[in-house]
Symmetry: C2
Amino acid sequence: MVSGNDGELAAIETIRRGLPGPPAGETWIGDDAAVVVPPTGRHLLLAADAVVEGVHFDLDLVDAADVGWKVLAVNVSDIAAMGGRPLHALVTVVGASADMIEGLVRGLAEAAAAYECAVVGGDLSSGPRLVVSVALTGSTGDRGAVLRSGARPGDALFVTGPLGSSAAGLRILRSRKGRGGTEPAGPEPAPEALTAAYRRPVARMAEGLAAAASGATAMIDVSDGLGIDLDRLATASGVGVLLDVCPIAEGATREEALAGGEDYELVFAAPYPDEVVRAFGAMGLRRPIRIGACVADPAARIIGDEHLEASGYEHRLA
Amino acid sequence: MVSGNDGELAAIETIRRGLPGPPAGETWIGDDAAVVVPPTGRHLLLAADAVVEGVHFDLDLVDAADVGWKVLAVNVSDIAAMGGRPLHALVTVVGASADMIEGLVRGLAEAAAAYECAVVGGDLSSGPRLVVSVALTGSTGDRGAVLRSGARPGDALFVTGPLGSSAAGLRILRSRKGRGGTEPAGPEPAPEALTAAYRRPVARMAEGLAAAASGATAMIDVSDGLGIDLDRLATASGVGVLLDVCPIAEGATREEALAGGEDYELVFAAPYPDEVVRAFGAMGLRRPIRIGACVADPAARIIGDEHLEASGYEHRLA
C-alpha cells in the first residue's frame, strides 16, 4: 500500500486525485491494504507484469502517460488471455519524478477506464530508474479459465488480428530519433497508427471473452512474438502447430509480425471454428483470423514450408 | 505472470522448484495469469510493497534470502494490520542475477511457509538494480477489515511489542561494516537478536487477528516509525493521541524505538482493554502493551510531557 515519508504525500495526493475513488463499503488508496468486495465466479485470476526503463521502454520514445497505459494494458492482456475480465490493480512505482507520476497516473486512469478496472492501491519508492509494476486481479465469471495447456490435435488456431504493428511503430519512433530505423516508404498506413500500436497497445479483453465462450481450449497473448508465444502454448499443451499463414499488419514486415512481439493480439486453439466465428460476430467483434491447426506431433513447429522459430522478445527491447 | 526470453527459463525453473506447487484445480506459475479459487469472506484485501536496492536494503548488510523474506513479511504485515490473513502473493523481480534469484526464492519460501500463504506467480526482468515488488491478497474471514480511520476518543492504544530492535540491528550491521554504527556496550541482549529483527522482521499476523477479534477500531503496522505511523492512524481517525510510554526493546535507544521503523509491530486502538487482554491470552499470544489513549483534540500528539514527532522512515534507510 502507498506509504512513505512526507515528501511522498504530494505524490500520493496526485495519484488519488487522478484516479476514481472507491464505492461505498470499499477502501482503496491510503490504508495498509485496499479493501474490496471479494469477486464471485469460478476462478480468481492474478497477474503481474512490470516495465523497466531502458529494458521495456525508453523515455526518449514514449512519455510517462504511455508507460502508465501500457503497464496496465499488458496486465489486462494477461487476464484476457485466460478468458477473464480485469477487476482490481495495484501499482508499484519506483524511481519516478513528480512530473512522471502525473503522466503515469493519466495513462493508468485512461487504461483503467477503457478496461473497466480500478487502481485500488500500490506503493511508491525512490530508485535509480523508473520501474512500474502492476498486479491485477480478474474473474472468469461462471466459466473456468482458459489455460495454455488445453489444446488438442485437430483444434484450429486463430489470432485476433494481424501482427507486427507494434514492432513497426517502434522502428518508426527510433528512426525519428535518428536511431537506425527507417520510415515506411509509402504514405500508407499512417505511421501514427503504427506508433500508437507501440505506445498504446490494446488488450483484447472482449475477444478473450468471445474465445472462451466459443470453447477455446488454450489461449495466450502475443507479448513476446507469435513464434515464441505459440511455442509456449504448444509446449504446454503437448501438441505441434502447423501454420498456413502469419497475418502481417499493414506497414509491418514479416519478421516484425513473426517475432516483433508486443502486439497483444490473442492466439487461441478451438475445436469448433464455426462456433468461434459465431461468438465473435454475436459480440460485434472483428472476425479472428484462422492461421492453422494443432497437430499430434509435439515437435512440429511449421509455418508454410518453413520451421517456425521460437524467437521474439529481444526484438522489442527499446 | 512469469514470462520472458529463453535466458529466463532457468530462472523460472529455479523459482518453480523452490516453491510449493498448486492444489488440484489451481494453476500457479507458468501461464498468463495464476488461477486460484476465489476467496470467501466479507472483504478481500490487496496490498503491495516493493523493496529497492540502495533504498530499502544494502546487499553488503543482508543477503538475497533476507530480502526475499522481508519483502513478503512486510506485505503480510500490511494484511495483518487490517485484521486479515494472507492468501496469494505475486512477486516481481527486476535486476536479479541467477544467484540472487536462488537466495530470494529461499527467503520467499521460508516466509510463505511461516505465514501460510502461497507465491502463485509474478514477473522477471533485467534491470540496473535489484527491485522486488510483491502484491498480496488476504481475507478478513467473516469480520470486516480494521481500517486506520475508526479510532474514537477514549479508545485505549496498544502496541504488540517493544520497538527499536530493527533500527538497533541495522546500527550493529553498519558498525560491523565500519560504517559508523556502534556495537551495544554490554553483552546483553545478544546482538544477533537485534540484527535478526532487521534482517528477518516478523509480521504480527496472529496478533492482528486477535486485535480484530477484540474489537479494535483502528490499526496500523509500525513500518516507518511509531511517531509517523501513529500520526497516520490519528489523522485518518480524526483523533489525538496521548502516550504514557514508548516501549523500548532491549538494546535499542529511545530514538530508535520512536522513529526507527521496520519493527512491524502493530499499533491499535480498542475501546475495551480487558477484551484485548482476554483475546490475546486466549490465542496464547504475548500480552500487548498499553501505551496510551485516543483523545478528542485532533491536533494532540503527546508522549509524556513532550510533543510526539511524526518522524521516521529516513532513519531506516540502509
